[in-house]
Structure formats: structure tokens, C-alpha cells
Subunit: 243 residues, 2 copies
DNA sequence: CGGCAAATTGACACATCTCAAAGCCTGTGG
DNA sequence: CCACAGGCTTTGAGATGTGTCAATTTGCCG
């Protein structure tokens, strides 16, 4: 199988891909694999030999604390087109695992391919680097949100971000999207108890900002939701630029 | 001026630098600049032409929220040897500013030098990439700490991390270090009010874990402090490895 | 000595957590 | 087709954590 077009779209939105780079990307060979809810896509491993890219569904980076194996913190979510554990290629390994929330399809890419790209395709290398740096910018925004927003606004921020990211790769439109996350998992993301997440969901519903039934979410009032969340998408770095 | 030896030590601790790479690094030309408390080292700028490396002191990445210019959130701290805004080289710009806390000395490096390195020194490029990914790993750990630790433990985690990072580059030892941060700034880091930070400081003091007078901190009981914080330094990726 | 900014303390309000129970949905087996 | 079981969602009530406001103390610098 060849590399996902979602990822190529992700890059092309942000810079111009030279034909040579594009050809190299399309020549990357991948292994397609499916996962079900809760499955471990990438285990914590100090010696991974491949990285994975999202094709379908939603995955999460899950951390456990020393001495408290039952508590879990989710530090990132990944949508189609995201190169989920590209950082595992450069770091000595992951300090977290990657899990599927809902049905997920991914493509695995051997690190040998990435090494070859970094040896011979400097511009493409910078774009891969950029992809990991956008992840880092998202981490920072989550830190900002955690430090400055109360529960409803914090949840609202997450919803704005996910919709924007899904929309950017063409995986959502019309302010509707599917979010295969349990309230328990939302709690692990936002750092609240599941009960409190529930109250935040109800609050957004009561304010008429969203409709939420099962996994299907509709944003009824984007203006209201993004204002409440003080959402400013510039951290997603979606401008085209020479890098 | 030449590039700081701190940074070379940072890299050499994590991988072996080929003589050719080491020579290239030493040939990087820099501009040395000093800053005082509160000074802006790097403004929010969509078109920065250089990045900065810490030589002395402590700097912070500072975010402001849309519509609330007085509220500030700090999402990262940088110690000597850190390549603070290396990510500004690959991203379209910074979504935050970098400020000095206390007296700071930095070296600025032109992006043209970095471009040249990424075109001709693939292994060195991967190491620069790695440096930005370690920053991202620190972001994730801050997210974990924010979601799972209460005030004293959260503060304890920050102290453990700073000491470990200072110690790793030889800028602190014997469990003593200088922290040029106001309680107000600690509050912006941890996401608490200054008053609550004060309570956390007192708590750690009362438990006999630290001594803290002015900017000088002594960790009296490393074991106790790191256990309270559930601190596990593996996210700092300090193992030597071929990358 | 005086003046400021930071650190500290106390009292009270608000946000969030925990525990417990009830309601809802969905898949399964009879 | 129905009854049931189990997991998720929703709700309530009381405990704990954290924020705000106001005042006092401390430490530094002119």
C-alpha cells in the first residue's frame, strides 16, 4: 500500500511539495492494519521499528503514572492524516502508548524508509519535522487551555480543535463530526472526573451550543462555542509557507 | 562567537557526534545578547530570522489569550543549553513569546545556518529534530502532571524536572539550584493562583522536603520529593542511542 | 528611613471530586 | 419478541481543592 493522501494534503496545505518529494512520498510502502475500541496500536517500547499514520478513526496517546497503573492521562488525539508516532523515529522510544478509540485504520511505515528520506530529501525532512512540531504546538495549546479555562470552556476548546483538524483534512464538514470518545476518555484528556465532564457536556447542550447524541456531534453555534473557548486556530499553523 | 558547549553536551549525552558534525556545530556563528528580568527575548513573530540558545539563566515561553491580554500562561521553561525557539525555524512562526526570568544570556543563530545544516548534515539534522522532540515530551509530561497531581505534588514535579535538567548539563549539583521565578510566574506555569502557589511552597517546606529562600532552592529530601511528584525522568530521554 | 513589590496569611466563595444511586442504551439468549 | 445483564450516562449530596479579596509582613533598594 502507498502512503495516505490525507497526509499529503496535510503537507500541501502548509508548503509546496516538489515533484521529486511527492514521488518519494508516494513510493513509501506501508502496512495497513485495523483496530477496535481500546486496542493498543503502539505499545510503550524503547525500540520501535516503525511509525504509524492515521487513516480512519481517532487514536490517543495514553500515559500511565508510576505507581498508579489504573489512572490514565491522554496527552494527544490523532485524526486521519496525522503521523501519530513519527517522534518515535527520532527519540529513543515512546514514553506513552497509542490506543484506538473506536474503529481505527492505520498504515505502518518502516523507520528504514524515514532514515532514507532524511539522508536524501532535506526539504521533505523539514516537512516531517514540521509535522511533529505542530503536535508540540497542540500540546502547548492544551497546556494553555488547562491552565486558563474552566470545565465547559475547556471542553469547548477541545471540540473546536477537533472539528478544525478534521475539517482541514476533509474528514468533517457542516459543523458535524463523529467523536468516538467515552466521557471517561474525555475526562482523561481534560483532567476532570467523568462526572464533571458530564456536567460540562450538559452545560454546552443547555446553552444551545452543541447537539451530542452517541458519537455524533453537531456544533449549533460555532461563534458562541469558539468565543467561549477563546479558540484561535493559528497554533495549528495552517498557512502555506516555504520551509 | 561560537555555539555553546552546553548544547554540545546536551547532544553528546544522547548520541555520538561524528567529528564532521562536531566541526560544523563549532563553526556556527552566533550573536551573544544579555537580558534582564521580564525582557522579551523573542517576540511573537511570524517571520523570525534567527533562533536563540540559552547560555545562562532561565527563560519561559509565554502565551496570552485572545481577549485577555493580562492573563499569561507559561508553557515551557528553558535552562542553559536549550535551543529555545528552534521550532521557529520550521514552523511559520511562534504563537508565543519568549521572556527572560532573571538575568539571561543567550546566543542567536541565523536560520540560514540551520538551513545549510539540514541540507548537508542529515545526522546532525536528526539531532536538532530530537532536541525539539524532547521539548514536546516535556510538554506532554506537564500535561500529565497538570491532569493528575494536586498543587504540592505538581510544584514538586516542576522542581524535580528543573533540577534534573540543570544537573544534566552541569549547571546544578548537590541538590541546590537557583530558580529566578516569582511566585506569580510559578502560578502562570502551574495554572494556579499566586496565593495557592504560596500555600504549595509552604507545604513542601513544612514537610521538610525543600529549603527555599529568595531564588535559592535546596532539595532536602530528593527521594521524598520525587515520590510525592511521581517523578520519572525517562521522558527527558537522556540515554545515549544511535539516532 | 521610606517606599515599593513580593511573600504570606485568613476568611469566604466557587470549582471540582468522590461516593452512591438511578436511568438509558445495546447486545444477547431464551 | 421479550427479558436481562452490563456498561455508559445522568443526577444528587457532601467533602476537598482552589480562587478571590483584603490585610499584614518581609525584603530589597533608593
Amino acid at each position: 500500500m502507498a502512503i495516505t493522501e490525507y497526509f499529503i494534503r496535510f503537507l500541501q496545505r502548509r508548503d509546496t511539495l516538489a515533484p521529486r518529494d511527492l514521488d518519494r512520498l508516494r513510493a513509501v510502502r506501508t502496512q495497513h492494519v485495523s483496530f477496535g475500541p481500546g486496542d493498543v496500536i503502539v505499545p510503550t517500547d524503547r525500540s520501535a521499528k516503525r511509525s504509524c499514520m492515521m487513516l480512519k478513526g481517532l487514536s490517543a496517546r495514553s500515559h500511565t503514572l508510576v505507581g498508579r497503573p489504573k489512572e490514565r492521562v491522554i496527552t494527544a488525539l490523532h485524526v486521519p492524516g496525522d503521523f501519530v508516532d513519527l517522534h518515535g523515529f527520532v527519540l529513543a522510544g515512546l514514553e506513552h502508548s497509542v490506543i484506538a478509540t473506536g474503529h481505527v485504520e492505520v498504515e505502518f511505515i518502516d523507520h528504514s524508509e524515514l532514515t532514507e528520506i532524511t539522508e536524501n530529501f532535506p526539504h521533505l525532512t523539514r516537512l516531517l519535522w514540521m509535522a511533529t512540531l505542530i503536535d508540540a504546538a497542540v500540546h502547548r495549546q492544551w497546556l494553555v487551555a488547562a491552565a486558563s479555562l474552566r470545565s465547559s470552556a475547556h471542553l469547548a476548546h477541545l471540540l473546536c480543535e477537533i472539528y478544525t483538524r478534521l475539517n482541514a483534512v476533509g474528514a468533517a464538514s457542516d459543523y458535524k463530526f463523529a467523536l468516538s470518545l467515552l466521557q471517561r476518555e474525555l475526562a482523561d484528556i481534560l483532567g476532570y472526573s467523568p462526572i464533571h465532564v458530564n456536567r460540562a457536556v450538559r452545560d454546552l447542550r443547555d446553552r444551545g451550543l452543541i447537539r451530542w447524541s452517541g458519537a455524533d456531534i453537531t456544533i449549533l453555534d460555532w461563534q458562541g462555542l469558539s468565543t467561549l473557548a477563546r479558540f484561535d486556530p493559528s497554533y495549528l499553523d495552517m498557512e502555506r509557507q516555504s520551509r
